[in-house]
């Protein structure tokens, strides 16, 4: 077993490399993905080794990146599109929602668009506006798309390869503030036997309440659980991993045991994923609940200026405060 310590960003890079090696039809396209290796260096060194026909620096046109990738997919390629920052995906929104998501359906199953749309998302890096957004609900609301997010280097490495291998079009959300966090990665993990792309996972077992998170907030919830343990509260943490479709079986099982659930995400709460999750838990686990399902989220404002983002982003204290409220019911 070749286990290495890698950052989440590097794990993605190695995963992309493996995908390029494994299938000549895999191509990477985006702004600055070539020589520069992407603004976050996730594609670092790939153009050098695979050439500019496999790792394509594109014109500065997001709709063009996604729209031409649709054509490449129809032609038999497996494009991986990098959107440079979350806030710049909107010019491509029409192509993603109206074309990528619907092509298989409209063609009665005759066309596949095996595309991965990689988006560094979320805040916490002190960036200027349009660089810290959480657009997941827009995509999760769209039938025909799958939306996933990785939270640790091992998952980053495996999930990116699974996403590329899948015939489903996948919006792959990368927690940009976690790019530099390190973890153990088993580089030989066989994809098929590894944890499936569409499965939520208990990342910390516990008995008192269930914390639900994905992407950047998994780390925050794990930290909150550690802090709560010091106060004698044993919290369970679930990494949802796939946001559409949600894998809620694990969640229901957990909430039935703990009786309390808190959903944590950076995106605004209004019509966000937390609302969907809370509604479903309420439908399925009503008689097991000791308190309403609570949400800890970003506010219903545009992402604020960097100097106040620590206030905007759910942090350990806000998570623990919600847990307290769940117990005070």
């Amino acid at each position: 077993m070749a286990t290495e310590t890698l950052t989440l960003g590097k794990a993605l890079n190695v995963g992309l490399r493996k995908a390029l090696e494994g299938d000549p039809k895999v191509v990477i396209m985006g702004e600055d993905v070539g020589k520069l290796g992407g603004v976050f260096r996730i594609t670092d060194g790939l153009q050098k080794d695979f050439g500019d026909q496999r790792v394509i620096d594109t014109p500065l046109a997001e709709s063009g990146i996604i729209g031409t990738a649709v054509g490449l997919a129809i032609r038999g390629y497996r494009p991986i599109c990098e959107i440079q920052f979350d806030g710049f995906v909107y010019p491509a929104y029409d192509q993603i929602v109206s074309q990528v998501a619907k092509m298989h359906y409209r063609s009665g199953g005759k066309l596949n668009i095996p595309m991965v749309i990689r988006i560094p998302f979320g805040g916490g890096i002190g960036a200027v506006e349009h660089h810290s957004e959480s657009p997941e609900a827009y995509f999760a609301h769209t039938a025909g798309l799958k939306v996933v997010s990785c939270a640790n280097p091992q998952d980053a490495y495996v999930m990116i390869q699974q996403a590329i291998a899948s015939d489903d079009p996948i919006v792959f959300l990368e927690p940009k503030r976690r790019y530099w966090e390190k973890g153990q990665v088993d580089l030989d993990a066989p994809l098929a036997d590894a944890y499936p792309l569409h499965a939520a996972r208990v990342v910390r077992p516990g008995t008192a309440a269930t914390l639900l998170a994905y992407g950047p907030m998994v780390r925050t919830c794990l930290d909150a659980a550690t802090a709560a343990a010091e106060d004698g509260r044993d919290l369970e943490v679930i990494d949802l991993r796939t946001l559409s479709p949600l894998d809620l079986g694990v969640v229901y099982e957990s909430v039935r045991r703990t009786g309390r659930a808190v959903v944590v995400h950076e995106a605004p709460s209004n019509v966000g994923l937390g609302a969907e999750i809370a509604a479903r838990i309420t439908e399925e686990c009503f008689y097991s609940l000791e308190s309403p399902v609570l949400r800890v989220t970003g506010f219903d404002t545009p992402y604020p200026a960097a100097r106040v983002e620590e206030e905007y982003l759910p942090d350990l204290d806000r998570v623990l405060d919600a847990v307290d409220r769940a117990f005070g019911w």
Binding site: L72, R75, L246
Partner: protein
């Protein structure tokens, strides 16, 4: 996606200065068959290319048959819509030559990306003409196999398909399928209104910088629903190409021969690795934009009459008669075939069954989705709950 060998390129000639000045109202056209049915042997286009066609009598008759059949089937679809059998229909009336000329210029290996109006191109690709009627009746969303017929699904979102065509064409080049006589080329159809869209302009940029084997085929039918050309552009559309770095040419879109010649030439350039061309087929939409609008609100009768005089089918007929390529019995036979095919189409449309409701859950994801499986199961339990009841 290597650039074509500059030595072998025709680009130098294409960039030659133009003598005549063109405006949107004064089209500078490549034409091989005048509205009066007079044959022009060959034309040197403003790009310096000589355009000509060399058809056998049989082929001329074939083109005429295509034009008549396509018009008749379209008329039948319009009638079916008026009788409530189709939710909507986007008629191609007046644009038959642009579609048949470009459609017949395609080789088997070439791929087309249409809008929602390319019934004539669809016909040329050998697809059953009932297919678009299924879409507009609401039986499915476009049931032909794009791979099999090399004709992608109709696209309703204006301009979106030009990017798909560009990406597909990039794939053709990456597959090494250009640079030879039997190379592949791609054609993207769109309207004059579409030229205002970001996607179309992005596709111009992409196709140009990647030297994609692509022909942009704009049917300038003078209107985007009610908005005239002047609301989309202040320069003749074909001239836009120059700013993106590839040739643009305007052809008489009501002239099936010129449309064929110009499209064939552009496709051959593309398949030989010489990159994209923008063709502006200058034509006119004789009917409504779709069956849901009223063109008398935005255009005047004299304009329609002026274009009537340029009818794409009448001029071919005059030519065939004058050159004695076809006689009255041929024309009668074509009319009879068109009538029969229209009747057949009508009968088949009326017999189309509605899809099973549960099929709406099919083909959302190639790999399925547990969420959807759950909803499908719930829905079928709900339907079953009616069984045996009075409903």
């Amino acid at each position: 996606m290597a650039k074509g060998d500059p030595g072998a390129s025709t680009r130098g000639r294409r960039a030659a200065p133009r003598s005549k000045k063109a405006t949107t109202g004064d089209p500078e056209l490549v034409q091989l068959l005048t509205p009066a049915g007079e044959r022009i042997d060959s034309v040197i286009g403003p790009d310096g290319t000589e355009y000509r066609v060399d058809f056998t009598a049989e082929e001329y008759r074939g083109l005429y048959r295509d034009l008549v059949l396509v018009r008749k089937l379209d008329a039948e679809a319009t009638a079916l819509q008026r009788q409530g059998e189709l939710g909507l229909w986007a008629s191609l009336l007046g644009q038959e030559a642009a579609q048949v000329g470009s459609g017949r210029a395609l080789r088997t290996q070439d791929m087309a990306f249409p809008t929602y109006r390319e019934h004539g191109v669809l016909y040329c690709r050998g697809i059953d003409p009932i297919m678009p009627l299924r879409l507009f009746r609401g039986v499915d969303q476009g049931g032909w196999n794009p791979d099999e017929f090399k004709f992608n699904m109709y696209t309703i979102v204006i301009g979106a398909q030009t990017l798909h065509a560009t990406g597909y064409a990039m794939g053709v080049a990456m597959d090494g399928k250009t640079g030879t006589d039997d190379g592949e080329a791609v054609i993207a159809y769109f309207g004059d209104g579409a030229t205002s869209q970001g996607d179309v302009n992005e596709s111009f940029v992409w196709a140009s910088v990647f030297n994609a084997p692509l022909v942009f085929f704009c049917q300038n039918n003078q209107y985007a629903i009610s908005e005239p050309l002047e609301r989309q552009t202040r320069v003749p559309l074909y001239r836009r190409a120059a700013g993106f770095g590839f040739p643009g040419i305007r052809v008489d879109g009501n002239d099936v021969l010129a449309t064929y010649a110009v499209t064939r030439h552009a496709l051959d350039n593309a398949r030989h690795g010489q990159g994209p061309t923008l063709i502006e087929a200058y034509t006119y939409r004789m009917g409504a934009h779709t069956t849901s609008d009223d063109p008398t609100r935005y255009r005047i009768a004299s304009e329609v009459e002026a274009w009537q005089a340029k009818d794409p089918i009448a001029r071919v007929k005059t030519f065939l008669e004058r050159e004695q390529i076809a006689d009255a019995s041929f024309f009668a036979e074509v009319d009879e075939q068109a009538r029969r095919e229209a009747v057949d189409l009508r009968e088949r449309v009326l017999a189309l069954p509605n899809p099973e409701p549960s099929t709406m859950f099919d083909h959302v994801y190639p790999n399925g989705s547990p969420l959807l499986d759950e909803q499908r199961a719930q829905f079928s339990r709900y339907l079953e709950s009616f069984e045996g009841s009075a409903h």
